[in-house]
């Protein structure tokens, strides 16, 4: 049991130390953390048994909001960009959610996709506002009024992202264990009974949807600031698919899986693209295939199974596994 808890702490410490030991990994890790937040949003919806193939919408909405805040206020202020981006993503989530929570399963997924593609087209076509396919530049913002040099800023962005991810991970974990989080889970297993308890399944899913959109938005802002540019590609359907891919890779039932999956994905993607430029997508595809076929609980599920074996347990009950994964 101690080992099961020590290893995650050591992994967080390793991620925190990596930019100091190997500075070239810093940007890659920041991007992985930003995507991890968006994947966390996907995990929230998976908890209710729903898959969104359009959550890049909120990622992009928040990223563009950050870019506009930066443009409007002389480079912008990082905290203001994060707050504004997350809020706009949450409000967008509220409005889009009012439509999509009426549907389930494939219809839910595809309706999300439709909304994200409408926004993608808007970003592409309204060139005078959005910069079209060239996108918008995101200048390095000040932090609480302090102008920073590039190196210092990137380091602060990485460690700030790490702290945000830990806080968001804990808050999401607590949310999913709470009464409303459990009610969301019952949408997956027995929505009719939930209604017969006097609870609106749609309102419950909507609450989760807004949380999910806000998490995606926060990730979008961090990504925009880290990359220094936002383009319509932020809202592109492949981005949405990437989030779902990472969620399954890390473990669809696990908060930790969002970040583990994201880190592994980003590392594999970066190095596969560098060393096998023509086949890196194939490498990822085979990796995901192996996960789905042999470890449906993702990397975190594999980790739990390994810990069980080391701990001498023949097997775990589903809820124990879920708790351990969380």
């Amino acid at each position: 049991m101690a080992l099961r808890k020590i290893i995650p702490v050591l992994l967080v410490a390793l991620v925190a130390a990596l930019p100091l030991l190997a500075p070239f990994t810093q940007v890659m890790l920041t991007l992985a953390l930003a995507k991890g937040l968006a994947v966390l949003g996907i995990i929230v919806l998976l908890h209710a048994g729903q898959v969104s193939f359009g959550h890049a919408l909120f990622f992009a909405v928040a990223a563009y909001t950050a870019a506009f805040v930066g443009k409007s206020f002389a480079g912008g202020e990082l905290v203001a960009m994060m707050v504004a981006g997350t809020l706009v993503a949450a409000v967008t989530g509220l409005f889009v959610g009012l439509f999509v929570v009426r549907y389930r399963h494939i219809f839910f997924g595809m309706l999300n996709l439709a909304f994200s593609m409408i926004f993608f087209s808007f970003l592409e076509k309204f060139y005078h506002i959005t910069g079209g396919s060239d996108g918008l530049q995101v200048l390095r913002p000040s932090v609480l009024g302090i102008e920073m040099e590039r190196t210092g800023f990137e380091m602060l962005l990485f460690y700030g992202s790490l702290v945000i991810c830990l806080a968001a991970g804990w808050a999401t974990w607590a949310f999913l264990r709470s009464p409303i989080g459990n009610m969301m889970q019952t949408i997956k297993t027995n929505e009719i009974r939930l209604e017969y308890l006097g609870v609106s399944a749609r309102a419950t899913l909507l609450a989760g949807y807004v949380v999910s959109a806000a998490l995606c938005g926060l990730g979008g802002v961090l990504m925009a600031v880290a990359q220094g540019i936002v383009t319509p590609e932020y809202a592109w359907w492949i981005r949405s698919g990437e989030f779902v891919f990472i969620a399954i890779l890390g473990g669809a039932n696990s908060v930790a899986g969002a970040f583990v999956g994201s880190l592994v994905y980003e590392i594999v993607r970066t190095y596969a693209a560098a060393f096998a430029a023509d086949v890196w997508q194939m490498v990822l595809g085979v990796f995901l295939l192996a996960i789905i076929l042999f470890a449906s609980d993702g990397l975190v599920g594999m980790y739990n199974a390994l810990m069980d074996r080391l701990g001498g347990k023949g097997g775990m009950r589903t809820d124990d596994a879920r708790e351990a994964a969380e």
Binding site: S178, P179, N182, M183, Y196, L197, S200
Partner: protein, 250 residues
């Protein structure tokens, strides 16, 4: 009937194609008076429950609960007014334990969303443990409901409804799927729990022994109509009921 009228169905009519499932159904449900609904398959018994709990809307007629017209209200709205339901096939949250099922119901009842409090730590925990005790399911409190035998699943389903502290509880065949040897035991537990919770029950049942033992009043349904209504002793000895519903030679 001594209790006040809790729910009143007035002139209910509904048909599914050529099948008449409710044909001018008029019935009052009195507080503290457990009503059994009997009748052959297809008589319209479950349809009546579906209308009263908002799952179906009648083509004509209305349902009044506690002085309020609930005919067009959703199951959710009717539940919030104090009407609960237990199902023929237990409707439980299969990824949760028995206790967690009840805690979700308690949180729903009290509108206790609490986004950062663990479900297991909500103040209603003791109350729900007591409810599990009432239905003799304390020993399985921490077991996933998907692993429980049918009899216990039925009891947890009824406890889930009772967790809402309803005024009126509809139960659709509370002993179906339960072994014959356990039926009376299960209903004894339910009857005791209902009495303790002071809940009026309406239940659909095929087992006449169960009806005789637990009902204060019986309504006999056939082809969407109420044919007879009265005290169990009187109704269950009526030759037409014996022939058409109980299925014995007079």
């Amino acid at each position: 009937m001594t209790g006040r009228v809790l729910m009143s169905a007035q002139g209910l009519q509904i048909r599914f194609g050529g099948v008449v499932a409710a044909d001018n159904v008029n019935i009052d449900i009195h507080e503290g008076n457990n009503l059994a609904i009997i009748g052959p398959n297809g008589a319209g018994k479950t349809t009546f429950l579906n209308i009263c709990t908002g799952y179906l809307k009648p083509h004509a007629g209305r349902v009044v609960f506690d002085g309020k017209d609930v005919t067009r209200k959703s199951p959710r709205q009717i539940t919030r007014l104090g009407v609960a339901r237990a199902f023929q096939i237990p409707q439980l949250f299969t990824e949760h334990t028995a206790l967690e099922n009840l805690l979700i119901a308690a949180a729903a009842r009290d509108r206790s969303w609490k986004p950062f409090t663990a479900l297991g730590a909500i103040p209603e925990r003791e109350e729900m443990m007591h409810l599990l005790d009432m239905v003799k399911c304390t020993s399985v409190a921490d077991r996933p409901v998907s692993e429980l035998p049918e009899g216990q699943r039925k009891l947890v389903d009824i406890a889930l409804a009772l967790a809402l502290k309803p005024k009126l509880l509809f139960m659709d065949e509370p002993t179906s799927g339960v072994a014959s040897s356990e039926k009376f035991e299960v209903l004894d537990i339910v009857a005791k729990a209902l009495a303790e919770a002071q809940v009026t029950a309406v239940f659909v049942e095929h087992d006449i022994g169960i009806v005789e033992r637990f009902a204060d009043e019986v309504a006999v349904w056939n082809r969407g109509e109420i044919l007879f209504r009265g005290e169990p002793g009187e109704i269950l000895s009526h030759p037409d009921v014996i022939r058409d519903v109980i299925g014995e030679e007079v």
